[in-house]
């Protein structure tokens, strides 16, 4: 099963070519960088819930969705922890989780622009900036992996759209 770091490696390869990458390659680099971070999180989420075979982990990974991940990321970036979030997250989240959250939001927008908005050129700075951001956020998440707030972030990204339900 392909690993998240392979997406990040590929994004860096696409971004780092000489001469500088074509417009199409820049778009691929940005999009692939987003998926590198996204799958970093889905891999960790799957590992949180099962130590079973690839098929189980893949199915859990498929359960993550981009919209809920963005919603959770906004809440963490804004440090908006009303109940029941206040029981799961520290009042002051770490710099690492806030960096992950802000980068998810940044990269989702960048991916949408890269994949769908052909009206604007993706600059070399934008492409390289987003690829760097993805790697930094993945490293930041690795640094806090296994902490309560990292686990809370993953659980929220999977389940928080059900937290308001009763019965």
């Amino acid at each position: 099963m392909i690993k998240a770091h392979e997406f990040l490696d590929e994004a860096e390869r696409l971004a780092g070519t000489a001469p500088p990458p074509s417009e199409a390659a820049r778009r691929r680099a940005v999009s692939t960088a987003y998926y590198g971070l996204f799958h970093t999180l889905t891999e960790a989420g799957a590992a949180l819930l099962t130590c079973g075979p690839d098929a189980q982990r893949a199915q859990i990974s498929r359960s993550f969705n981009h919209a809920l991940l963005r919603t959770v990321s906004e809440r963490v970036w804004r440090e908006r922890f009303d109940p029941p979030w206040d029981r799961l997250f520290p009042a002051k989240p770490s710099d690492e989780i806030r960096l992950v959250a802000s980068t998810v939001i940044e990269l989702q927008a960048a991916r949408i622009a890269s994949d769908y908005d052909l009206s604007e050129t993706i600059s070399l700075e934008f492409m390289s900036g987003r690829v760097l951001s993805a790697r930094r956020a993945a490293l930041a998440f690795a640094a806090i992996a296994g902490t309560d707030e990292a686990r809370a972030f993953l659980l929220a990204a999977l389940l928080s759209d059900r937290w308001g339900r009763r019965g």
Binding site: G16, S102, S123, S128
Partner: protein, 103 residues
Amino acid sequence: MNDVRPPVRAAQEIARAREIVARHELPDFITGFEIELGEMEGEPALYVVYSAAPFDGAPGQDEILRRAEAYGQIDHVILTELLHAFEDRLPYSKIVRADPSAG
């Protein structure tokens, strides 16, 4: 980037965002910026659109990375300030070439 808010409020939001960005020293290759209101996936959004100077000749990886690092550092700081200044808009940025034909 359609937005249905009254123009006066939009102008105030743009001015407020401009003030926040203008407080910061921007990297040497950024020649200016604009604030645009819009949406992202149906949610209200605010964009800082930086203009970047053309490269001198064909850029090497070192120069591209230098710019990307500088952009990334200031971008994170400014977007976080904008996030806290605007409760109902998420901030984003773009960096575009002042001369689009320059890549």
